[in-house]
């Protein structure tokens, strides 16, 4: 993809993932009146004071920096919801809880620019950090179960930033395992005479996470 900064590692840099995350929409409350903004990606409709309007994150941050709006934190960013998610993450050791795909990036951008718009900011911040640590720990324990018989690794509900971190490692691991497990390498001793190509039986399909 054009956004990859290091094609050798097939890795998006963190800033690129953040850039992609800025397309998510959220609600703002403008404090001034402005005409509709017409962009190539869409029109964002006339702004009236104290009337909530939905805009993408990049526009919300830009308006906030100029002091023209206040940002309403998204639904999932309340202390109650996050505590629920954290409890559920700790209770289920093999599953990930559904969270917005870009929750890490959205929360970081909001903490940097809209600090006063989020109630209980420190609590929310520490909750998100805890959730992130628990989820990453689960990813790591899951990585240990990759063995020679793994065709593919499926991780449900993993967020964009977490995927970005493990992507080069998992890709290379699977390649290395595939190289070592190919049928030419593992030969039965009695098949030395006739070298027919034989489809290796790779065992039943096994997901990293149970459904």
């Amino acid at each position: 993809m054009a956004g990859q900064s290091d094609p050798h590692l097939s890795l998006f840099s963190a800033a690129e993932v953040e850039f992609l995350a800025e397309d998510e929409t959220l609600e703002i409350v403008p404090n001034m009146k402005m005409d509709a903004l017409n962009f190539i990606c869409g029109d964002y409709g006339p702004f009236y004071p104290q009337i909530t309007i939905e805009v993408p994150l990049w526009l919300a941050v830009a308006l906030k920096k100029r002091g023209k709006c206040t940002i309403r934190p998204p639904q999932w960013m309340s202390v109650e919801k996050l505590t629920q998610v954290l409890e559920a993450e700790r209770d289920s050791p093999r599953e990930f809880q559904p969270l917005p795909f870009h929750y890490v990036e959205i929360s970081r951008l909001l903490f940097d620019h809209a600090r006063d718009d989020i109630p209980d900011m420190y609590m929310v911040r520490s909750l998100i950090e805890d959730i992130r640590n628990v989820r990453f720990h689960k990813v790591e324990t899951g990585l240990e179960t990759i063995s020679a018989r793994t065709h593919a690794v499926k991780l449900k509900n993993l967020s964009a930033m977490e995927v970005n971190i493990v992507r080069p490692f998992v890709v290379r691991t699977l390649q290395a395992f595939y190289k070592h497990d190919s049928p030419q390498m593992i030969q039965h001793p009695d098949r030395m005479a006739n070298r027919q190509p034989q489809v290796a039986d790779r065992g039943p399909r096994r997901d990293l996470r149970r459904r």
């Binding site: 800033a15 970081r108 940097d112 790591e140 990759i146 930033m161 490692f169 290379r172 070592h180 030969q187």
Partner: protein, 186 residues
Amino acid sequence: MAQYYNIDDIIMEEEIILVVFQVAANGVGLLDPSAETNSVEQGSKVELPFWLAQELHLRQAVAMNVLACFNQKTRKEIQADAACVDLRNRCPYFYELGCKIAPLVGDRTIGSFLLYTFSSRYKEVLSKAHSAAFAVAPKFLTLLTKEETHLYEAARSSMAAFKKWRTGGPRFERASILGIKRKPAN
């Protein structure tokens, strides 16, 4: 041929292998340090780099012995505890060389042996690569072969990049060339 330009492949093929000459060769006495005349006797043991040994083997001029790093001693060590064996000391291109040698030498067990080694080392060391603390790292790093280090570095660098992003900082970096002040030309 796909690996012709791969630098790791080139360095890997420099590894020394012990071969036994099946024919007498004239004019290449340099290869055998114990030869009096400028030729190599039939049946003499010579150390050759892998690229040369492979070509001569295909022409049936030499017979390749098993490498030192695949002998019984190493196998026993790996079966005892795979994660603590210092593979970099023996042969930094352990897996690659094994993959290349297996079809040449008539040894069918190398493939499964490599798989076993890799999967047990992966389980112990590499799966913890992401969050390994810096104190633990040097101890393990010196034991890994080139390919394993490759994996390890991938995990480590992506984690470091994420942490750097998380601590924040300016989104736009000033290009370093703008900071260079020209001296007035006198």
